[in-house]
Symmetry: C2
Subunit: 414 residues, 2 copies
């Protein structure tokens, strides 16, 4: 068998696994909907457990439904290398987000064992039960449970949009709520996550790999402006308390400040709701969101303080009442970059084009990154699209990710 | 009977009539809902016809349901003076908008006849059947039919929100659709309309009367911006095609231009809809409205041209697709101001504080104003509120309107 033939087989192997896993919760639009503890979720985790066992992994679930596939190390078994990603998707999500990280880890470890036998250190492949927050109003249920951050209190009384209690969904999926308790794993030495980029940086730069240095911090605000609803024809401009003009000024000015003075910062108003929202009535009330992200905590803080000051000033000078509600506040997480540095030669050898980059999206790696050395790698996303049936990464790019992950895990465990 | 007593009786008379008419379609919130051809509308017009007849008017309906109360002139009967307003209201409207103009006209003519006998010229009081456009998607159905502007084609296939055909509603209200045809009245010499201001200019200036010189022209646009929906965290600022930021810039800039360079112009974005309208996703599509009003056609044209140019420039420079849809285009109407000038001495005599002003809202007077000398007068509105159960004008202010209307009609018909 020539090297080319071998490469083709490998390319089809990861793509086949992706398609196989996407069949659990596959939608007619070509996407995947696999919500925490749903029927599709149970089917996917169960099938994955079987596949792990069929390939020589010791597979087991923890109390919340994280699935592990263990390859016992020859020398060290008390602590282990964890690698994987999450099994859940958003509603009408893609085939790659989360799934790729699990399957690439599975394949990398399988091939390592095939090629080099058992590792020195134990490796576990993980299919984290939940990251997206798409069924219940919480996120990182998998990783944050592993790090002991959640407790029965977290989900007390929590229901999904159909009124199903978290407790009930959990129990029915095979993870009895009464057994659930906070339990932090202390035996993880290093976490490695491979993921699609969900942005266009690698694709635009024609790069193979992103070596993630930080995961951004995020603050999300809802700004409520209370002006005066009035007749669009009879109210002179200077008499108006137009909440929508005030919102427009705020969005324009904050975006301009961010672009001018904070090069890596990202600010987004994704949601705006005006009332009464009628063409010939001045909007008396406007709510809009601000999603602000940066990888350095002090820069994020500084900008947000400046933004809030600016918002109050704008509202006050227009006689408009303002309420600023901070409802998400996640600190930036610096990841382990030492491993990336160590691997530079290997990447050069393989002639892989790569860049060090910040992740603008949240990942399980940010949860682990608070506690232990955590490494994250990106492969390109076509057109930067994610959370959509259009999500796509080419087989050869997926395969590059798997082979690099093999190198990283070899470095850590062999 | 002293003058004071007489005044008190008069004050209660207009207020009593307002309350009486508001009982047809009165809501529990203290407002009025009286939609064209509804049961309440039929009751109101029928009761008003009876009241006219009881007070010596010859009352009759035309083919679409405009109600006239005629006082035959002693000298001229071929042409006549028309005075009144509209009987319909918006959903959950007030007691004064439209109703006041009809009742004040009725009372003024009644008192003129009581005090001075029959006029030289015929006077007709009119309760126009529809102005608001609140049930069917057309407005000024009453006045535009009188001016021959509507035809059976206008209402062909038209239904209300409950699926009732216009034709059917009309016929059931007692105005058989098969009889309906376009018919312009050529016998109106002058139209006079008294109305509440629906704004705060008179109240803030502590004025009794507004002498309306123009009714503004209006252009209403819907602007659609097509950018690219993308991840709020992973899309760098310089790569974005953020339709909402573009909309915010547009609203800010156009408002600033209007305020700086077009003193009497009014511009309003009352409605904005962003898609997908989710906090952590860049809005790929935004629709917003622009309601632009001015009393001079050339200024309105000039500003709108400049605005559209600015919008295209903004969109193009951000790589965003734009569609500009003009869906309302009403020319400004200069009203007859000669009569106001003639009446100045009378107003001074009565020590009435007044101002010449532009109406920022549309009225039946603008329909008549295209064809014949048309005079419009405003009385104050409390807090500038209209189209609401909170609509209110003080009895003494209502009565001032009636007495001034008497003077105007005396000048025209005696």
């Amino acid at each position: 068998m020539s090297e080319v033939q071998a490469a083709q087989i490998q390319v089809s192997e990861i793509q086949e696994l992706i398609e196989w896993l996407a069949s659990f919760g596959g939608t007619k639009e070509g996407g995947v909907t696999r919500l925490l503890y749903s029927k599709e979720w149970v089917q996917a985790q169960t099938a994955l457990k079987e596949k792990m066992e069929d390939n020589g992994f010791q597979a087991y679930f923890d109390q919340v439904g994280n699935l592990y596939g263990r390859i016992e190390g020859k020398e060290e078994t008390d602590r282990f290398i964890l690698t994987g990603s999450h099994i859940d998707t958003v509603i009408q999500g893609g085939k790659y987000d989360g799934a790729y990280g699990i399957l690439a880890s599975f394949l990398a470890v399988k091939r390592l064992v095939e090629n080099f036998g058992k590792p020195k250190k134990t490796i576990e492949v993980v299919a984290l039960c939940e990251e997206e927050g798409s069924r219940f109003p919480l996120a990182y249920w998998g990783s944050r449970n592993i790090m002991g951050e959640y407790s029965p209190m977290t989900i007390e009384g929590m229901v999904d949009t159909e009124g199903v209690f978290f407790k009930q969904a959990m129990t029915e999926a095979g993870f009895p709520y009464p057994d659930y308790q906070t339990k932090k794993r202390e035996d993880i030495e290093h976490f490695v996550e491979l993921h699609i980029e969900q942005g266009g940086i690698l694709e635009k730069g024609q790069l193979d790999l992103g070596l993630v240095s930080h995961i951004v911090g995020q603050k999300r605000f809802t700004i409520t402006l209370n002006g005066e609803s009035n007749h669009a024809g009879t109210t002179p401009m200077q008499e108006r308390k137009d909440a929508l003009v005030c919102a427009a000024n705020a969005i324009s000015e904050l975006t301009a400040i961010a672009k001018a003075d904070y090069p890596s910062l990202r600010i987004t108003t994704g949601q705006i709701i005006a009332k009464p929202n009628v063409p010939n009535v001045i909007a008396g009330n406007v709510k809009f969101t601000l999603d602000i992200r940066h990888h350095e905590a002090d820069v994020l803080e500084e900008f947000c303080e400046r933004a809030i000051q600016q918002l109050h000033q704008l509202a006050n000078s227009n006689g408009i009442g303002i309420d600023v509600d901070l409802w998400t506040d996640i600190r930036p997480v610096p990841l382990d970059t030492k491993l990336h540095e160590k691997m530079q030669n290997k990447l050069e050898e393989k002639e892989l084009k790569h860049t060090t980059m910040v992740s603008g999206a949240g990942h399980d790696a940010q949860v682990f990154g608070h506690y232990l050395p955590t490494t994250m790698l990106f492969v390109p996303s076509k057109d930067g699209i994610s959370h959509s049936p259009l999500e796509f990464t080419d087989s050869s790019q997926l395969e590059i990710g798997v082979s690099v992950l093999m190198e990283y895990l070899y470095e850590l465990a062999y």
